[in-house]
């Protein structure tokens, strides 16, 4: 069928031309209605047939695809993605406990996680989000060095302080764009500037306090809220210390006393914690876990304290004016009495 063959060629060519004009989805977004003003030096030939037609289309030299911002690290490697995961974890998680794990086997990890889940799930919930906290608590093994870098980025890189960069859009016009993501050069430079090898880190920074902990194989337990009840339950499983956080009894949770779980728990070592951007050691974590009634109780205590202090203050301030008023009032009554007494005396004298 010759006619069909003849038709196929022009159709194919037009397809190729269209394709060359619009190389990908992101380009479509930036392309103006009239693509005549395209001028730059980079050139992509997508179809051999379309070269002559589309030679007018060139990407600007400093064009940055909107879905792929420039990064200081290769953006699509596992390490970079892990780093982004850790930074977002550090920014969003108020309570992180850091454990050292010494050669736990897979079955031991499974047993430890099972016991932890059971303990967290069995907390009697007077608050509504208790189950949610329990379900989102996670014990995960981390890559120590990447976690270290993530901590640095979270501490020293402030995305709001990064200035805009000028890049070209597809059309060649200059656009102001802010690249302040965690993999950006700005983040990299901020971290480099803060942690120079010859200068010691300031003692006040949380990273300086937590960095000695980040050695060897580590695991973290993340809780999505600072809930002392959940923390206490987790401590009683993972790092039991008899008076405050006793291990569960054999009758109550037989799985905990299973030899596999026990040997796993013996190899887990709680070395510290990061609670609301502050670094705590074992004692500090236990102190937080020992807060009765959680944050609400602490707030109630504070309110009560402030109220009683205010009450004392008002009575003290009132006291001076009150006593003044009392003395004046008594003086007035005395004077009145004297006046009345004098008048009565006079009246008596007159009458007599």
């Amino acid at each position: 069928m010759p006619s069909r063959l003849r038709c196929a060629a022009p159709r194919g060519l037009s397809c190729a031309v269209n394709h060359a004009r619009i190389p990908n989805r992101s380009a479509v977004l930036l392309l103006p209605s009239a693509p005549a003003a395209i001028a730059a030096s980079r050139q992509y030939a997508t179809a051999a047939a379309a070269v002559s037609k589309s030679s007018s289309f060139r990407l600007p030299d400093d064009y940055v695809p909107p879905t792929k911002p420039p990064t200081a690290r290769p953006a699509d490697t596992r390490k970079s993605q892990l780093l982004r995961t850790y930074t977002s974890l550090l920014r969003s998680t108020p309570l992180i406990l850091i454990f050292q794990h010494n050669n736990l086997t897979a079955v031991e990890w499974a047993a430890v996680r099972r016991e932890l889940r059971l303990a967290l799930g069995s907390i009697a919930s007077e608050r509504t989000n208790s189950a949610e906290v329990a379900s989102r608590a996670q014990l995960q093994v981390i890559r120590t060095r990447i976690f270290d870098v993530a901590l640095k980025i979270v501490e020293f890189h402030d995305p709001s302080k990064v200035g805009p960069t000028t890049v070209s859009a597809l059309t060649g016009e200059k656009v102001q764009v802010v690249y302040n993501h965690d993999l950006s050069k700005a983040a990299y430079k901020a971290v480099q500037a803060a942690t120079k090898a010859d200068e010691p880190l300031p003692e006040s920074s949380a990273y300086a306090q937590i960095s000695p902990l980040l050695v060897g194989p580590l695991a973290i337990l993340t809780l999505p809220a600072v809930s002392p009840a959940h923390l206490a339950a987790a401590l009683s499983i993972l790092a039991p210390s008899p008076p405050a956080f006793p291990a569960p009894s054999k009758k109550k949770s037989p799985g905990y006393h299973d030899p596999i779980a026990q040997s796993g728990l013996q190899k887990l070592m709680l070395i510290g914690g990061r609670i609301e951007d502050k670094v705590f050691d074992l004692e500090g974590v236990k102190w937080v876990g020992g807060i009765e009634g959680g944050l609400d109780a602490l707030r109630a205590q504070l309110v009560y304290m402030l109220q009683s202090a205010g009450l004392g203050l008002t009575t003290a301030l009132e006291g001076a004016s009150k006593s003044l008023w009392l003395t004046l009032e008594s003086r007035r009554s005395v004077l009145e009495e004297e006046q009345n007494g004098g008048k009565e005396g006079e009246k008596k004298e007159e009458s007599s």
């Binding site: 050292q100 010494n102 050669n103 736990l104 086997t105 031991e108 306090q209 000695p212 902990l213 050695v215 060897g216 194989p217 040997s263 013996q266 190899k267 070592m269 709680l270 070395i271 510290g272 050691d281 074992l282 004692e283 500090g284």
Partner: protein
Amino acid sequence: MITRFITDVTTRFNPFSPRAKSARLFLTFLPPTARLSGMNITTQLLPRSSTEPSSLHIKFKDGKEMKLDCEAMGIKSIVEEVDRHSRLLQKEADLADG
């Protein structure tokens, strides 16, 4: 590291001190079945403010005790020290087995 001949490991360290690194890393060198095969491992964590030096105390099957100074030694030299004695015991054990 040869851990067959170690019967007792006792460590004390403050995890917030950078010098505790070698003591902590030594614990990670012990195999997963160390406790099952009869090794006693005791770890004591010191509070954050403590300035006590980190210590590592090892006992071997033949009764030899080793007190290693974790402050000055890196993990490599600690492993070297421990292996030096373990190799002697290994040699003896191999000869005894025939």
